[in-house]
Amino acid sequence: MSVTALAPYAFKPSDVRENFPAPLLYFGWEDHLLFCAPVCLPLPPDTPFGALASAVLPGVYGYHPDFAKIDWMQVEWFKSGKPWTPDPSKSLTDNGLKHKDVIRFRTPGLSGIKGSFS
């Protein structure tokens, strides 16, 4: 469907890739809703995927007592909600990630504060 309007209605989208210094990626940590919502980060496309666990996510989620217990070998990744196996040695781009993609990760065995999914 489209907008009902009196005159031709076409405007530039506000959030296209070229409006940002780096593409945006969204991250959500499943079962850990102490963090109220997924987060949004601009990340250079040549960042190795493996750097997320070592350099990016600790700054985002390190406050949570479960974070230090994560076994990154066991982590399950999801892209747009579908199971997905990234290659940590390859870049974000080479893993097929594009502007405004959403990635979720599940850490088996860790279910938040007192098992409350927080």
Binding site: S2, V3, A5, R17, C36, P38, K100, I113, F117, S118
Partner: protein, 514 residues
């Protein structure tokens, strides 16, 4: 000799006719369609504008008289409140944060409504609806002004009340109410009335005004209560306008029904999402509680709204598409929204806190199936951390819903452990949503919502720093730069209530120690 004959006074009905229909005319220099270009393109067909009935039959002369009388009473109370230092009589300084939410998030909407009704009050061809919309436009301006005056006494004593207009156009959470109204105002005049007069004023307004005004009464804030009374008769007129507008459209042409139904689906959902702010206020920000959000929802939405949609069924209108999801959300949204403000309290100009033990017990009692399981452990953990000097502030900007612009905090229906993610692809880009309701709204008008001014994205685009800021400078702190752009008083307006200037001042005025 001529004798002056006193003219016979017109009766109410004739006077109403003279002061509404009698003020219009068929234009001759220009065709009517060119003079009133906006009230046809939405597809709503009107065959007879004279079928519009205003049950109040209010005319401008009577309007000025009533409003003038109410105004005198209100300002007498506001003056007395200030002279008697009424701010010292409130239950607790935490209460003032509900007022901060009101003056930043609700009062500017009154001003938006004033603008919106001024616009549609010019654009309808029918005089009856034009006059009603013009009166509502003046009401809304009056509400905005009287709210600012009512709360100005608090501004002398508490932080976070000094800059609401500036914040409305900039601060992240205020893009939620702002975008709601900008969406309505950029629709056509019939959509605007369905959005604001019907879906918001008629279906949902009790959930906005009753919690704030009875919250004020329970917490010793007589000036805000008096404002509420002063606005109440206006509100009932506004609700009637909403209902009249819906029935008028539905009765004029059967082709109007599906258009109106889609607007009701859209605007019920947008209004419901906006009310998340009220839900958290009601459950978390009132030191003396009135009723829970869940109870208010059951009374005002489920009972009253259920009856309303049964009544509209004879026109072929069903309950809004997101109704069941909204009813399911009554157990969750207040807790989820409070958590968001607790997370991002560094960037919001009011305080948050963890409820005390009595308040946690009240929440357990009001939310027996969800609170202890999902929300209490989190709050107790946050309290432990806060008391240990490790108060949690989320420092990474959240992902926002493209439509309602609320951080993606809401969970799947029936599973409060899973955030609800929805997405659409449009012209090669992904767009994300918090719910089916918000996704449907986008999918119907993607050209509109690709323009959403999402605060998080705007910050990353570099549009939320003061002129002259250099984001490439060494040691650049983006959060600090954003707060400077907001013109928040850092350390006074924001952060936890514990240790705040508000808390210390109020305790000192009351002769207590913190």
């Amino acid at each position: 000799m001529d004798t002056t004959l006193a003219k016979k006074k017109l009766g109410l009905k004739d006077r109403y006719a003279a002061m509404t229909r009698g003020l219009g005319w068929e234009t001759t220099y220009q065709p009517m369609d060119k003079v009133f270009p906006y009230d046809k393109y939405e597809g709503i067909k009107i065959h007879d504008w004279d079928k519009w009935q205003d049950p109040f039959r209010l005319t401008m002369d009577a309007y000025w008289k009533y409003q003038g009388e109410k105004e005198k009473k209100l300002y007498a109370v506001i003056d007395a409140f200030a002279q008697n230092s009424g701010q010292l009589g409130i239950s607790d300084a935490r209460y003032v944060n509900a007022l901060k939410l009101f003056i930043t998030g609700v009062s500017p909407l009154e001003y938006c409504a004033h603008r919106g009704f001024a616009h549609v009050g010019r654009q309808f061809t029918g005089e009856g609806v034009r006059v009603a919309a013009q009166m509502q436009s003046i009401d809304e301006l009056r509400h905005y002004q009287t709210q600012a005056h009512t709360l100005s006494n608090y501004n002398k004593y508490f932080n976070g009340i000094h800059h609401s207009n500036h914040w409305f156009d900039r601060v992240w959470y205020l893009s939620v109410p702002k975008s709601f109204f900008e969406d309505a105002m950029t629709g056509g005049p019939f959509e605007f009335l369905t959005a604001v007069s019907f879906s918001f004023e008629y279906v949902l307004t009790n959930l906005l005004f009753v919690p704030f005004m009875s919250g004020a009464a329970h917490n010793g804030d007589m000036s805000t209560v008096t404002f509420g009374f002063s606005a109440q008769s206006d509100e009932s007129r506004h609700m009637t306008l909403g209902m009249e507008c819906i029935k008028f459209m539905l009765e004029q042409d059967p082709g109007n029904v599906p258009i109106v139904q889609r607007w009701i689906d859209k605007w019920f959902w947008r209004g419901y999402r906006l009310l998340s702010l009220v839900a958290m206020m009601q459950d978390y920000m009132l030191p003396k509680r009135v009723m829970s959000w869940k109870e208010a929802w059951e009374m005002y939405a489920e009972a009253n709204g259920g009856a309303l949609f049964k009544d509209l069924a004879r026109y072929g209108i069903r309950e809004p598409a997101g109704w069941k999801q909204a009813c399911e959300g009554k157990d969750h949204i207040s807790h989820q929204t409070w958590n968001t403000f607790y997370n991002y309290n560094a960037a919001a100009p009011f305080h948050t806190w963890v409820p005390n033990d009595d308040e946690l017990a009240w929440l357990s009692e009001k939310y027996p199936t969800t609170f202890d399981q999902h929300y209490r452990p989190r709050l107790e953990f946050l309290r432990e951390q806060q008391q240990a000097g490790n108060r949690f502030y989320n420092k990474t900007l959240p992902m926002l819903c493209t439509t309602c612009q609320i951080p993606m905090q809401f969970t799947e229906e029936g599973d409060a452990s899973k955030i609800c993610y929805r997405e659409s692809d449009y012209q090669g880009d992904k767009y994300h949503f918090c719910s089916d309701g918000c996704k449907d709204i986008f999918d119907h008008e993607p050209e509109k919502f690709v323009q959403s001014w999402l605060p998080v994205h705007q910050i990353y685009q570099g549009n939320c720093f003061k002129p002259g800021t250099d984001p490439t400078a060494e040691g650049f702190d983006p959060l600090l730069a954003v707060l400077q752009y907001y013109e928040m008083e850092i350390g006074r307006d924001n952060f936890d209530f514990e240790g705040s200037e508000d808390q210390k001042n109020f305790a000192a005025w009351k002769g207590a120690s913190v």
